[in-house]
Every structure is written in C-alpha cells, then in structure tokens.
C-alpha cells in the first residue's frame, strides 16, 4: 500500500469533486423535473386540443382532395391535409416525451388565458373554435365538384381562423422553444392559406355566377 504524501491536496480535490457531483445531481434532477410540461400546462392543452382540431381539417382536406373540382383547391387541400397530419405527429411526440396521455378527457381550450367566448362557438355543438359541426361535415361529405369546393373553402377558412387563434393563445403562454416553433409555423402557414382559400373562393363564386347566368 502506498503511503499518502500529503492528505490535504488530495482531500481538497476529493471535496471539490464531491460538491461538483452533488451540484450536478441536484441541478440535473431539478431540471429534468421542470422540463416536461404537466397535464395542466398550456403546452399540453395546446398539444391535445390542436391535435383534435387538426384531425378534422385533415379529414375535410382528404375528402376535398378526392372529391373536389378545382385543381388549385385540391392541391391546397392536399397540402393542408398532409401538413397538419405531420404536425399532429409532432405534437403526439411531445406528449409521449412529456409522459402525458395522447388525448385529453377534459373540457377543451381551458388552458388559454382568455378562452374564446363559449357562446360564440360552442352552442351549436362545435367542440372548438373554427371546427365544423357534424351537420356541416355531413353536408360537405355529400357534395362533389364545385359545390364541395365552395363549402370546403368556407369551412376551412373558419377552421383556420380558430386554429390561428389557438396557436396565438399558446404563444402568449409558453417559453418552450419547440412549442413556439410549431405554433409560429401554424400562425403564418394558416394565415397564408386563409388568403389563398379566400382568393379561390372568390374566383369559384365568379365561376358559379357565370355558370348560372350562362
């Protein structure tokens, strides 16, 4: 066995190492705990509600892609459907990472600072702002061609207005960089799609008018 030359320097190093390890453990445990948003966080509420919101848009878009008449609109529908389905996947991955359920059984939109006036959207069975009612969906799914195009534009514009509102809602509340990144993309992406859908709807209404007169 070697004899210790001097205990002090080694001891200091050992003590410093101990403190460093403890600090590391402490900070490590604390930070992993703070990182994942909890079940009542705006981030989780957003991920749950926006996934449901997106799901309906995907269904409507895929229908229009199959049954619509206008090529440009069918392309936009294809774009909306696949983009939003992809975004749903991102949000579900967050929820998995956060060890939270993939869906919520609570009232929607309660995580927002100022939930939209319930009366304005919930009274006719809308689950969230901008979402189509069951009747509206049934009607859309009964139409093809120009009629489907026109109703789709109307429903999807409303849908996007509600979606932008919800994405802005989480941007007010979260510092989470991943959530902010996706919510920002939703706001800008859906806003530009609202413009595009409005233009197409105007053009199609012109078509409809001329078709009727002609």
């Amino acid at each position: 066995m070697r004899r210790a030359i001097s205990a002090r320097p080694i001891l200091s190093v050992v003590m410093a190492a101990l403190v460093a390890v403890a600090l590391g453990l402490s900070v490590g445990v604390m930070s992993t705990r703070e990182n994942p948003p909890g079940a009542d966080s705006p981030e989780a509420g957003f991920a749950w509600d926006m996934s449901l919101h997106h799901g309906q848009a995907v269904a409507m878009s895929m229908y229009l892609y199959d049954n619509g008449g206008d090529e440009a609109l069918r392309t936009i529908a294809y774009d909306i459907g696949l983009t939003q389905q992809g975004q749903i996947g991102v949000m579900r991955t967050w929820l998995r990472d956060w060890n939270l359920p993939q869906s919520s059984t609570d009232e929607p939109m309660q995580w927002m600072t100022m939930p939209m006036d319930m009366g304005s959207w919930a009274k006719d069975g809308r689950i969230m702002p901008g979402m189509a009612t069951q009747d509206e969906l049934t009607e859309l799914y009964s139409l093809t061609g120009l009629e489907a195009d026109l109703l789709f534009c109307e429903l999807m514009i409303n849908h996007h207005v509600g979606g932008v509102h919800m994405a802005e809602g989480v941007l007010e509340l979260t510092e989470d960089e991943e959530v902010r990144w996706l919510a920002d993309a939703m706001v800008s992406g859906q806003q530009s799609e609202i413009d595009a859908l409005t233009e197409i709807a105007d053009r199609l209404r012109g078509t409809e008018g001329s078709a009727q007169t002609g």
């Binding site: 066995m1 070697r2 004899r3 210790a4 205990a7 002090r8 080694i10 001891l11 050992v14 003590m15 101990l18 403190v19 390890v21 403890a22 600090l23 453990l25 402490s26 900070v27 490590g28 445990v29 604390m30 930070s31 992993t32 705990r33 990182n35 994942p36 909890g38 079940a39 996934s51 449901l52 799901g55 309906q56 995907v58 269904a59 895929m62 229908y63 389905q85 749903i88 996947g89 579900r92 967050w94 998995r96 990472d97 956060w98 060890n99 939270l100 359920p101 993939q102 869906s103 919520s104 059984t105 069975g125 689950i127 979402m131 069951q134 799914y141 510092e175 989470d176 960089e177 991943e178």
Partner: protein, 304 residues
C-alpha cells in the same frame, strides 16, 4: 440553463429520466451512510460485529447487536460525524481513496469541520431534489385501472394478429379487442352508432388507436346519453350497442378491455386517457375516412 431546455430534445424520457436519476441519487446517500457505518464498525467494534453477525441473522431483535446499533445509528444518521470525517470518502474502492487515510494520532479539527460542512452541503444538494419529487398525476399514463384486462400480459395470441382479411372473422373475445380484420376501418372520429357495427371494421379502428365504447342495448337511456357525451366529436373514439356482451358497458382498446356495470364509472375517463391513441398498433393512422357500416357483416368498399 434556460437555453439548454430548447436544445435538449426531451427524447422519450422527461419523467423516466427523473425516475432513473432518483435511485442513483438515493443510492449515493445510502453509500455514504453505509461507508461511514462500515468504517465505524471496522475501527472500533470489529470483533463484536463479527461475533454478532450470525445472531442478527437469526433473531429479528438480537440483544447482542445492541452495543453496535447506537454507534452505527449515530454515524449513519448524519454524514458529518467523526467517523465520516476521519475517513473522508469512506472506503469506496472505486474511487481509489485508500491512500488518503489520515493519521490516527492527531485529529485535524479544522479539516474535520470543513469536511463535515461539505458533506452536509452535498447531502442537502442531493436530498432536496429527491425529497421534493412531484406526486404522481392522476392523468399519468402509467396509472393502474382496477378491472382493466391487459391481453398482452394474458398472452392472448390474437394481440399480434393484424392481417387484413376478407369476410367474417371469429373473435375469441366479445367484443373483440384485436386480431385480424377488414381492410376498411370503421369511422371513429367521435361517432355514435345507434346500431351494432361489424367487428371486422371496429377491430381495424382499434388498431388505429381508437377506444370502442359498447353497451348492452337495454342500458338506460340516460346512461347511453352519458356515453355519447364522452364520444361525440372526440377523435379516436366510437360507440355502438353490442347485443350479448358480458357487461352493461365495456371499453375496448387494442389489447385492453374494461368491463363496467354502469356508464357512471370514473374508470371510463381513466381508460380513455390511458389507452386512446397510446394503444395504437399503427401510430398516427387516422380515424377519418372509415366506413360507417352497420350490422354484423363487413362491407367491401369504404364509404366516407
């Protein structure tokens, strides 16, 4: 630190990470205690310890062990005890600290105090995060639901059978919770079916992560309403009457089933929260664009 949050991809492990760190931290504290206790025993009560060891094993409360207990307790209770100071770092061979053994003759009090203080600080740094762990949330996906049957655990062979087949399929369970199924899935975007629906489509919806709520047709209307309230508009949820099912209300996900006596059971929400989407065999497959078939015979072509 704040920035780290953004870069850190929470890779599948928020809480699991915590869970993994926890025992490690706890183990560190235990190690310290054990070390000091061992050091103590070796130093002063080695003979007694060895002699008492067999007694300790046979008797739950050995009289002979008593002389050792107070000292070991004292040393173990606070990491700042003399014994700990005397042998900084204990005898952990991993850390290779054996050469550090301080001379036994004179006690360097300054160093003892410094080390004691440091050990206290270290202990506190480790203990505080461990002791203040958050309580388990009710929405924790790992929550245990009483009465819920896990057919993966039961070893059912059909939980891994996922072929697309034509025509009728004989299912072992009523209602089925998995197995081969029709190429078309039942529309499960929060749809309430008033009539029985074909198993072969419903099972495909389960594969996509949906919860299937079924009830005996004679279930009181207000209970049916209650179930419909949990279903309507909720993506990955669908509901239908199921004649001859073995309980008034049954919730089914792929591989999991919960039989209930009424629609007022709080386990309904628990089951939905735990298994909706998470039980999916095809993550991110949709409920939209399914068929809306009724009856008991699968249909050929998807409707809308």
């Amino acid at each position: 630190m704040a920035k780290k949050k953004s870069n850190q991809r929470p890779g599948r492990s928020g809480p699991p990470k915590t869970a993994r760190t926890e025992p490690k931290a706890a183990a560190t504290v235990e190690d310290t205690d054990a070390d000091t206790a061992t050091a103590d025993a070796t130093d002063e009560t080695e003979a007694a310890d060895t002699a008492n060891a067999p007694a300790e094993k046979t008797d739950t409360k050995p009289v002979g062990a008593k002389p050792k207990t107070p000292r070991a307790g004292a040393a173990g209770s606070r990491p700042g005890s003399k014994a700990a100071a005397n042998r900084p770092g204990g005898r952990n061979p991993k850390k290779g600290r054996k050469p550090v053994a301080a001379p036994k003759k004179s006690l360097p009090w300054g160093m003892i105090l410094t080390v004691s203080a440091l050990v206290l600080v270290v202990g506190a740094l480790i203990a505080i995060p461990v002791l203040t762990l958050p309580e388990q949330s009710v929405t924790d996906p790992d929550v245990t639901i009483e009465g819920s049957v896990d057919y993966f655990e039961e070893g059912a062979d059909w939980v891994t059978q996922r072929d697309h087949v034509e025509g009728s399929v004989q299912y072992a369970l009523t209602p089925p919770a998995g197995g081969n199924h029709n190429v078309a899935w039942q529309l499960c975007t929060g749809v309430v079916y008033d009539e029985q629906i074909p198993n072969e489509h419903a099972v495909h919806s389960l594969e996509h992560g949906a919860i299937w709520i079924t009830y005996q047709p004679d279930l009181p209307a207000e209970q049916v309403e209650r179930l419909a309230g949990k279903t309507t508009g909720q993506d990955y949820t669908f509901m239908s009457p199921y004649p001859d099912q073995p309980a008034p209300v049954i919730l089914t996900a792929w591989g999991y089933q919960l039989q209930l006596e009424s629609a007022n059971d709080e386990r309904i929400d628990q089951f939905i929260a735990k298994y909706r989407l998470t039980a999916s065999q095809e993550p991110n497959a949709t409920c939209s664009r399914g068929v809306t078939a009724t009856g008991t015979t699968p249909v050929l072509a998807p409707g809308m």
